[in-house]
């Protein structure tokens, strides 16, 4: 086995801020401290920086700058979009929302909260490849449906949903369409107009931007009630002194990501495929999620007889940062709702490993992971009574 190397393969959890983003942020953490709402020059400079970032985010999505609202991250954007639409349409008697069973918790728990308030939620199933069916969306839409919210790409298994088709369907049926694109932005081409997306959530820290800043795209003409009331920031729609440095960082991060998307995605896909092909020969393992309709940097494999947390801790000892769908890592009792949704038995879901790559991942990193992981699986299986049972049963 190779010498220990540090390999960060958890880019779907968060990414390292790129040098370009950091350098762009520093002036706003130092001398550019003016409040964008202030009328003197120091305030105006900050306001211009925020405006520029708004233009950058808009350009990356094919939106208009005034359709972009900065938030504290993806979770706030999801909450705002879904609760906002729900409460607006409830007044018109429309209290039905459609989403999928395998959304991020920022969407699922928001829908749960609305359910407790009296809204009705349809949770669409996903097939064993991790895809939502447009037909299912179609059948679920009712007279009183206020919103369809389906994620652009899943954060655990990386599957990319038929967003354009759902957009067209919702448009035709005159139902608003929100997509949580936190994992998709920067990794897949997006055009909110062509794809007929009404609301879209994104987060900076998944694309080499800072943590604690994100945005909601809200199509012109849709009036959402505020989630955070107060000052006149964001056109009076989202109060709070702007996180200028963070917003500037988001602007630079999204611009860099979208500018070079085809090359970057191609490189990531090649790394991803080499990793998948190198791991799949391991006995009794399976790739989770569709192989083609998949984020360029996502690998998610279940190894039978292995428990995720101990796998992660062992990999950490080898310098590899990764994540898992095991309940044990989260302190909850049930393993990942995403893996259960695609039909994995709980005991197999426990043994899943997500390796998520980014621009920071090198060929050598992939080599290293391929040299380490099989041995780690073998070692853990050697001490696993579950593996013993699986082997003896076969």
């Amino acid at each position: 086995m190779a010498e220990t190397r540090f390999v960060y393969a958890d880019n779907a959890a968060t990414t390292k801020i790129s040098d370009a983003v950091f350098d762009a942020m520093v002036p706003w953490l130092k001398e550019g401290y003016g409040n964008p709402s202030s009328i003197y020059r120091k305030g105006d400079e900050a306001a211009r920086a925020v405006l520029k970032a708004r233009e950058q985010v808009a350009a990356a999505l094919g939106a208009e700058p005034r359709e972009i609202y900065f938030t504290s991250g993806g979770s706030e954007a999801d909450n705002w979009a879904i609760k906002g639409v729900a409460h607006t349409f409830a007044k018109k008697g429309k209290k039905h929302i459609i989403t999928s069973v395998f959304e991020h918790h920022a969407v699922l728990h928001t829908c749960d909260a609305l359910r407790k308030e009296g809204f009705e939620i349809t949770y669409l199933p996903v097939d064993d490849m991790g895809l939502v069916s447009v037909e299912d969306v179609k059948n679920a839409i009712r007279e009183d449906t206020a919103l369809v919210s389906v994620m652009y790409a899943n954060n655990e298994i990386g599957t990319v949903q038929p967003i354009s088709e759902i957009g067209a369907l919702c448009h035709e049926r005159k139902v608003l369409f929100h997509t949580d694109a936190v994992q998709a932005v920067g990794n897949l081409p997006i055009d909110v107009k062509a794809q007929q997306i009404d609301l879209l959530s994104l987060s900076a820290h998944k694309i080499h931007g800072p943590k604690g800043v994100g945005a909601l795209y809200c199509r012109r003409g849709i009036l959402l009630p505020n989630l955070i009331d107060g000052g006149g920031q964001e056109g009076g729609h989202r109060a709070g002194t702007e996180n200028v440095a963070g917003i500037v960082g988001l602007g630079v991060a999204i611009t860099k990501a979208m500018e070079t998307l085809p090359e970057r995605a191609a490189r990531l896909r090649a790394l991803r495929d080499r990793l998948i092909d190198g791991l799949l020969p391991i006995e009794r393992c399976r790739l989770n999620g569709d192989r083609e309709k998949r984020l360029p940097g996502n690998v998610n494999i279940s190894f039978e007889g292995v428990e995720g947390e101990s796998l992660l801790l062992t990999l950490d000892a080898h310098g590899i940062c990764a994540s898992s769908g095991s309940a044990c890592t989260s302190g909850s009792l049930d393993p990942s709702h995403v893996l259960l949704a695609i039909g994995l038995p709980a005991e197999v879901a426990h043994g899943s490993l997500r390796l998520s790559l980014s621009d920071d991942t090198s060929e050598e990193d992939v080599d290293y992971m391929l040299s380490v992981i099989p041995g780690v699986i073998e070692k853990l299986r050697a001490m696993s009574p579950l593996w013993e049972r699986i082997i003896s049963e076969k």
Binding site: A327, E347, A382, M383, P385, L386
Partner: protein, 143 residues
């Protein structure tokens, strides 16, 4: 997760891992659905546990508590081994995060299950000696 150094030590270098060919007591507890199965092998000679090994499918805490439990009962009499509590294991490991306490319960139960099996093989009803092994209190999953 904030595991103690002691937990990490026992996780990284688990003591007494493996199977025991000449074990005369084997106990298995836990549930794969919850991500935890512990199997304990003991070799009892004249009422003393002369050797012990374990295999565990589970989280860092599950592996570390198994390892620590084997160390704590090795060389002890059966009576002393039955006095091992999950609390003692947690203390010996310098603490566990609250959500991981159930993993230590599993270690205590694995020891009792192995002793129960030892008595059963001798044709002795383990019930009155070992008591109820009980289920994991953390969940309601049934096998």
């Amino acid at each position: 997760m904030l595991y103690s150094d002691k937990v990490m030590d026992h996780f990284t270098n688990p003591r007494n891992v493996g199977e025991l060919a000449d074990a005369n007591g084997i106990g298995e507890v836990g549930n794969a659905k919850c991500g935890d199965i512990m199997k304990m092998y003991i070799k009892v000679d004249k009422g003393v546990i002369t050797d012990v090994k374990f295999k565990t499918f589970g989280c860092g805490a599950a592996i570390a508590t198994s390892s620590m439990a084997t160390e704590m009962i090795k060389g002890k009499t059966i009576e002393d081994a039955l006095k091992l509590t999950n609390k003692a294991v947690v203390e010996a490991l310098e603490g566990l995060p609250p959500v991981k306490i159930h993993c230590s319960v599993l270690a205590e139960q694995a020891v009792r299950a192995a002793v129960a099996d030892y008595y059963k093989r001798l044709g002795i009803d383990p019930g009155p000696i070992v008591g109820e092994i009980g289920d994991c209190h953390a969940c309601s999953h049934d096998e």
